[in-house]
């Protein structure tokens, strides 16, 4: 107990300078410029533990305040024991930090659709599962009757208000999507800012779970930082001619033309030695590029997201003889790649950096020829999930080990 108190006190003292940075005076979401001073301070590992905005009463109080990733100050229990990770990546994040015993309820899709999630945590099948999506309506009684003391939820003001009304703490661990207004903002991001943005969610969660989770987070963050620096060191001097053009499609619906707001992945693709085509396409609820535009881009590599329906069929259709896509160089060179999936989709949650390592070997195989992706994945699972993968299982992850059973979406 004393050790725990001392560690908490240490965190409190060291993170004191962060308090003015985590949220603006008006409570507005964090911005890159506001955070720059923080992320450049890497002298002490624990300064990177985000979350707290006020000094907790370590002796008597049962609650404390944290700031979530969109700048909301939320009062949560000091040691939440009945949590509901309802967003897509949040179960995997909780599991990686060793918090699975605290889970009372999660997204129903997560209890069925990921064979590896069930292998690594057989209890997962027994968790209560209910549907949840960014704009679905919360039935607050589902949470009340299970006495949930912390919900990880989407940025949906109306639904978050429902939790607030019944005093169930609900936090958002998704970076505000309006962080970058245009592609120039993305291009201006420094490496430290990227690392900060890509690790803050796990750091905040670790801070909530306490010292053991913080220790796990530190190891994980060190791994991430090293890998991201490795990617950067090898790729940042590539000339424009050396960058491979990459398109990322199949993010909803059932064809390769449905796409993310494409600038979201620009920085990561560049880290891997690629250039994301279509990054100039701005926001929009349902961006779908034209067929001809894809031919005009003629990307060297096409990534097939798991979020759209039938990723395996999309790839099969594009490869089939006589397909209209046959003249795309990515099809001719067999460069269609489904995003890997294990405990969750590998581009989300704690595994984004692992996905980037895989992606780098796809985009610039010569530059990253020393990386054995199978071994890299096995290492990650052993180190962070304490699970020994076989080579076959690691290969299944690369192939996208995701078997949707129900209708529940998985974002």
């Amino acid at each position: 107990m004393l050790k725990k108190l001392m560690l908490s006190a240490l965190i409190m003292v060291i993170t004191l300078p962060l308090f003015g940075c985590g949220v603006s005076a008006t409570g507005a979401p964090r911005t890159i410029s506001e955070e720059t001073a923080v992320v450049s301070d890497k002298t002490t590992v624990l300064t990177d533990v985000p979350g707290e905005t006020s000094i907790p009463d370590l002796t008597n109080a049962t609650n404390r305040e944290i700031t979530d990733l969109v700048g909301r100050v939320v009062t949560i229990p000091k040691d939440p024991q009945r949590i509901a990770p309802m967003t897509g990546p949040s179960y995997e994040m909780v599991f990686m930090l060793g918090g699975q015993d605290r889970i009372v309820m999660t997204k129903s899709g997560h209890t069925t659709n990921y064979p590896l999630a069930l292998l690594t945590n057989p209890d997962l099948a027994n968790y209560d599962g209910i549907g949840a999506n960014p704009s679905s309506s919360v039935n607050i009684e589902d949470y009340l009757k299970r006495e949930i003391d912390l919900v990880i939820y989407y940025l949906n003001d109306n639904e978050l208000e429902k939790f607030a009304a019944v005093k169930i703490p609900a936090i958002v661990l998704t970076l505000n999507t309006s962080l970058f207004e245009n592609i120039d903002d993305v291009k201006k991001m420094t490496l430290d800012e990227y690392i900060y943005n890509s690790t803050i969610a796990v750091g905040t969660l670790a801070d909530i779970f306490g010292p053991d989770a913080i220790a796990e987070y530190e190891v994980w963050k060190k791994y991430n930082t090293e890998k991201i620096h490795m990617l950067y060191d090898r790729s940042h001097n590539l000339s424009d001619d050396q960058l491979k053009s990459v398109y990322w499609g199949n993010t909803w619906g059932e064809n390769i033309l449905s796409s993310y707001t494409l600038m979201n992945r620009y920085y990561e693709i560049r880290l891997c030695g690629g250039s994301l085509v279509g990054h100039e396409i701005g926001n929009g609820n349902f961006p779908e590029v034209t067929t001809e535009q894809l031919f005009a881009w003629d990307p060297e590599i096409i990534l097939v997201d798991n979020h759209g329906n039938f990723p395996e069929l999309v790839i099969k259709d594009m490869y089939k003889e006589g397909s209209k896509w046959a003249s795309l160089q990515a099809v001719q060179n067999k460069q269609l790649h489904r995003i890997p999936a294990g405990i969750f989709f590998m581009d989300k949650g704690t595994t984004t950096t692992l996905m980037l390592v895989w992606l780098a070997t796809i985009i610039q195989p010569e530059l990253f020829s020393d990386i054995n992706v199978i071994e890299e994945i096995k290492y990650y699972y052993k180190e962070f999930y304490e699970f020994e993968l076989t080579d076959e299982q690691a290969q299944k992850i690369i192939d996208g080990w995701y078997e949707r059973v129900g209708d529940e979406p998985d974002l």
Binding site: G131, N133, P134, S135, S136, W252, G253, E254, N255, L257, S258, G278, E280, I281, G284, N285, F286, P287, E288, V289, T290, T291, E292, Q293, F295, A296, D298, H307, G308, N309, F310, L313, K324, A326, S327, L328, D407, E408, P409, L411
Partner: protein, 329 residues
């Protein structure tokens, strides 16, 4: 002559316009080799040939086909209902087809399954409308309109229910995007399937254009002239339903074409359906090719066709209403 040249010139132009840059001489050679048996050296890329033969050509033909079909359907219904505000969707076909497609999307059916469900529910909706309206061995126009409203409302509610239960991240965007209409996914195979029902139905409407003049005088007058108006009405309803159901199944909801084009053509050629039906066919074909060109050319994103047809159609229709002062005879 201008009406004939309008769709033809736009059709040819659309083969030369696109975001994938192909020199005009190459386009001509690709078409020459493919369709005229010429033997130009294929100095172009295979992607260029794919874009012309598998992307632009089927898309332009489908746009022409659907534009012509919807416009003819609109003209036929406006004549039959004796009302220039009527659209081909008045009997509930779009609501039924939308529901069918939404069900297909939620069930994760492949494209052909979604199209089949949209087509079947489009036909079903109109069949229900027809039988609801059929009283005393006849189907009065007023009953048809009111039954159409009932059926549309029902299927719109069912569509809302499907959207409510659909997940927000994949299915709902897919349903919403589908409902906005698009020719972006049209392939040669789609064209080969769609051209048969639409083509046959268009021929039927073309052949019945004489009878439409009689029907447009009203039930009592047409009967007094010895026309079996029940049979003619039924055939017209079937033909227009097949056209609109097929169009909705392959391209989603493309509104306003069937309202604006007949009205516009009536201003030019008058209300005589002998002339009006062919005129709407030609102008409708050209109009939808033109709008679709904007959809695929303005940005790298596919702009939903239904948005542009509404954005252009509504003000044009308002202008035409003011200009004709609501009259149409």
């Amino acid at each position: 002559m201008i009406m004939i040249l309008f769709p033809i010139s736009l059709f040819i132009l659309s083969l030369f316009l696109g975001r994938y840059i192909i020199p005009a001489n190459q386009i001509l050679k690709i078409l020459g080799n493919k369709f005229l048996g010429m033997n130009f050296d294929p100095l172009w890329t295979s992607a260029a040939e794919t874009v012309i033969i598998q992307v632009r050509l089927p898309r332009a033909i489908m746009a022409a086909l659907i534009g012509a079909g919807l416009s003819m359907s609109g003209a036929a219904f406006q004549g039959m209902f004796q009302n220039p505000l009527v659209s081909p969707f008045i009997l509930g076909v779009s609501a039924g087809a939308s529901f069918g497609a939404a069900v297909g999307l939620v069930l994760e059916l492949p494209a052909i399954g979604i199209q089949a469900l949209a087509f079947i529910f489009g036909l079903l909706a109109v069949a229900i409308t027809y039988f609801l309206a059929h009283i005393y061995k006849s189907t009065p126009i007023l009953m048809l309109v009111l039954s159409g409203m009932v059926v549309s409302t029902f299927f719109q509610a069912m569509l809302s229910l499907v959207k409510f239960v659909a997940d927000d991240e994949e299915k709902l965007p897919a349903i919403t995007f589908w409902l906005m209409g698009s020719l972006g996914s049209i392939e040669v195979d789609d064209l080969l399937i769609a051209i048969i029902p639409i083509g046959i139905s268009m021929i039927v409407l073309f052949l019945l254009r004489w009878k439409l003049n009689v029907l447009s005088m009203g039930d009592r007058e047409s009967r007094s002239m010895g026309v079996n108006n029940e049979l003619i009405k039924t055939i017209i309803i079937i033909a227009t339903t097949v056209i609109t159901s097929t169009a909705v199944a392959f391209c989603g909801i493309i509104g306003w074409v069937g309202q604006v084009i007949p009205h516009f053509c009536r201003m030019i050629v008058g209300p005589d359906h002998k002339v009006l039906i062919p005129a709407t066919m030609l102008v409708g074909a050209g109009y939808l090719i033109l709008i679709d060109n904007f959809c695929r050319l303005l940005t790298a994103n596919e702009i939903p066709l239904g948005i542009l047809t509404a954005v252009v159609g509504a003000p044009v229709f308002a202008f035409l209403l003011r200009k004709t002062k609501g009259g149409w005879n």
